[in-house]
């Protein structure tokens, strides 16, 4: 079904269309939520909350840009809000100094591992690193935008990302070489 018709039907309150929209985007959006959270259950909570927002705000979608991209943006925002209001993530979002790591931004290995493996590695990063890495490397936001979204300085976002990247590269290399990770993992 054409996405325009699908959206219009959803707005008319047709439950079949709403289910179809969910079936179309639930999988890819769960992947997004999965990268930002620490467990599948948390990811599903975010997915649930995000889809409710999608349906309640669908009238605001003006068919400018991809529907998928619009939904994805809602999911990312929902995930960040979820992390912010969730006590166990909140403390970690403050980026304590003891979690900062040495940086070597130049060298990086080729990423050969499976998508799920890489996602699991990212999810093992401290929540602050995980969020910034996702926002910058995967979603493509710049540090100014990330700073605004997370309520931090642009420079903080930049430095935190550099450290997150270094830690992830270190883990990828260790995994490639069959070495057990030796650094922070929650």
């Amino acid at each position: 079904m054409d996405q325009y018709v699908l959206v219009k039907d959803c707005l008319k309150g047709k439950m079949a269309a709403q289910k179809q929209l969910y079936d179309l985007f639930a999988g890819p959006m769960l992947s997004v939520c999965y990268r930002y959270t620490k467990s599948v259950a948390d990811a599903e909570d975010v997915l649930h909350e995000g889809f409710v927002k999608v349906y309640f705000n669908l009238h605001q979608y003006k068919f400018k840009g991809e529907l998928g991209a619009w939904i994805r943006r809602i999911m990312v925002t929902t995930a960040i809000n979820y992390l912010k209001r969730n006590a166990r993530y909140q403390s970690e979002l403050l980026f304590p100094d003891e979690h900062l790591h040495a940086v070597d931004n130049e060298a990086h290995p080729e990423v050969k591992m499976e998508a799920k493996e890489l996602a699991d590695l990212i999810r093992q990063l401290p929540p602050g690193y995980q969020t910034i890495l996702n926002l910058y490397a995967v979603e493509g936001f710049n540090h100014v935008e990330i700073g605004k979204m997370l309520g931090i300085q642009e420079s903080t976002s930049r430095s935190q990302y550099a450290r997150a990247r270094a830690l992830l590269i270190q883990w990828i290399e260790q995994k490639d070489n069959g070495i057990k990770k030796s650094v922070y993992a929650k």
């Binding site: 309150g13 439950m15 709403q18 289910k19 969910y22 639930a26 999988g27 890819p28 769960l30 992947s31 999965y34 990268r35 620490k38 467990s39 599948v40 259950a41 948390d42 990811a43 599903e44 909570d45 997915l47 649930h48 909350e49 889809f51 409710v52 349906y55 309640f56 809000n81 912010k84 209001r85 969730n86 006590a87 166990r88 909140q90 990086h108 080729e110 990423v111 591992m113 499976e114 998508a115 799920k116 890489l118 996602a119 990212i122 890495l133 910058y136 490397a137 995967v138 493509g140 990247r165 992830l168 590269i169």
Partner: protein, 471 residues
């Protein structure tokens, strides 16, 4: 600027495919349905307003029609009375025995017999016996007022006898007078105007008793009509005053008529995550507490079975919830500056201790209501209406989801609220007053709090109204 590493990570993440479990859609679907149900509920608001407006219009229209009809009736009554009083001199003339006619009055122990004979008229003679006339002075006065003809006819007899027998001998009667006579007999009433007209030219037999009876009833009927209609007019135009009381239970949440009656605040705001043993602290459940209202109302009868009321009302609502440790510190929660808040989760320094907190809301309101008597003979009234309420004072707490803390700030509440009222009352009449008692329900159509929160105040319980007429 992204480099090769970021591109690889992005590409890998795009390849990631996961399938959500079935309960996710079920939860989403449930929330969509709830929203749709709420929308349906909101659709009732214009319907209610339409009902109120329609009722008002109908009532006012009915009232103005009644007034118009009353005026018409009074006018027509006056015209009738005037006509009859104009006819009186005619009758006076015709009723006098002709110079050429012979009149004989026989007195027989309280019975008067009168015989008219007309020289000019030959032929038939008629004798009519009049039945007994009630000789009360009050009736006479009424008759005098209503019909001067009868006054004049009765005058010669009223002091002499209790009953009158009139014998009229007519020597010659024309066809017209005979026809009148017959029609009088058939109908049992007399067209006095026509009869008296005929009397000018010919002798006719008049059943005086019937004339008297009619003349008695005409003013009586008119009088009672006027009295009844005036009373009706007065009852419609008068404002009655009433005192209203209500008491019951109140809380904040969502009225959900489709999935359980009252949804608590805890219900679907943010589901607690059961994942991985990690604890998320949702807001406490809002419990219902006592509520009451008191109002001074002015009531106006619109139709026989409907009335409109408005006035001034005070409402008190309350609810309770469990709150955690109190922290006294100036801080910003959301967009509000607060000096103290209640944390709903344990901190490193202290274990959490929950205690009950009572939210109290004081409103002053302007109620607009319409009462409908559902059954003609049973005083069972359905009361529907709206009330515009202003939040005067509150100590209510709001929950900040990012900090998982309760805080109080009056600015966080919507000052103006629109409430819908629904009630069913049974009226008992005591002397000049009436007391109506029955169950009632109030539901805040506006959101209690500003922002995205979707909490509404509600109250259910008993309501009583004591109405009395204005002196």
């Amino acid at each position: 600027m992204q480099n090769e590493f970021e591109k690889q990570v992005q590409q890998k993440m795009e390849e990631l495919k996961l399938v959500p479990s079935a309960p996710v859609w079920q939860k989403v679907e449930m929330q969509i349905r709830q929203k749709r149900d709420r929308r349906r509920l909101i659709l009732w608001i214009p319907l209610l307003a339409l009902l109120l407006g329609g009722g008002l219009w109908f009532g006012i229209d009915q009232y103005s029609n009644d007034v118009r009809n009353n005026e018409k009736d009074i006018e027509s009554t006056n015209v009738q009375l005037q006509k009859k009083s104009n006819v009186a001199p005619e009758q006076n003339v015709t009723n006098k025995p002709n110079e050429e006619s012979r009149s004989k009055i026989e007195l027989k122990e309280g019975v008067v017999s009168q015989t008219h004979s007309d020289k000019n008229i030959t032929g038939k003679s008629q004798t009519n016996t009049l039945s007994t006339i009630e000789n009360s002075y009050s009736e006479k006065r009424r008759i005098e007022k209503g019909n001067s003809i009868i006054k004049q006819r009765k005058a010669p007899f009223e002091n002499k006898t209790d009953a009158v027998e009139t014998k009229v001998s007519d020597e010659g009667i024309d066809e017209e007078s005979m026809r009148v006579q017959q029609s009088n007999k058939q109908s049992g009433t007399v067209d006095t105007t026509l009869a008296f007209k005929n009397l000018d030219t010919a002798a006719t037999t008049v059943n005086n008793d019937k004339v008297i009876e009619e003349s008695k009833t005409v003013p009586q009927k008119n009088d009672s009509n006027v009295i009844r209609q005036t009373a009706k007019k007065q009852s419609f135009s008068k404002w009655k005053y009433a005192l209203a009381f209500s008491a019951g239970r109140s809380g904040s949440g969502r009225l959900n008529l489709f999935n359980g009656f009252f949804g608590g605040q805890k219900s679907m705001d943010y589901a607690a995550s059961p994942s991985g043993g990690q604890v998320y602290y949702p807001p406490s459940e809002v419990k219902k507490r006592g509520s009451f209202g008191i109002a001074v109302l002015a009531k106006k009868q619109l139709t026989k079975r409907s009335s409109f009321s408005t006035g001034l009302q005070y409402n008190y609502y309350s609810s309770s919830m469990l709150v955690g440790n109190r922290v006294s510190r100036d801080t910003m929660l959301g967009q509000y500056n607060v000096s103290q808040y209640y944390l709903n989760y344990p901190t490193n320094n202290a274990a959490i201790t929950f205690e009950s907190y009572h939210n109290r809301y004081h409103f002053v309101s302007l109620p607009l209501a319409i009462d409908w008597q559902l059954l003609r003979k049973v005083p069972l009234n359905l009361s529907t209406g709206l009330s515009f309420q202003y939040l005067v004072k509150t100590n209510g707490l709001m929950f900040d989801f990012s900090r998982q803390a309760y805080f109080h700030n009056k600015d966080a509440f919507s000052r103006f609220q629109l409430f819908s009222d629904l009630g069913l009352t049974y009226s008992i009449r005591v002397k000049n007053t009436s007391i109506a008692v029955g169950p009632g329900l109030q539901y805040g159509l506006s959101r209690l709090e500003k922002g995205n929160s979707n909490h509404h105040l509600f109250m259910y319980g008993l309501k009583a109204q004591w109405s009395f007429n204005k002196k």
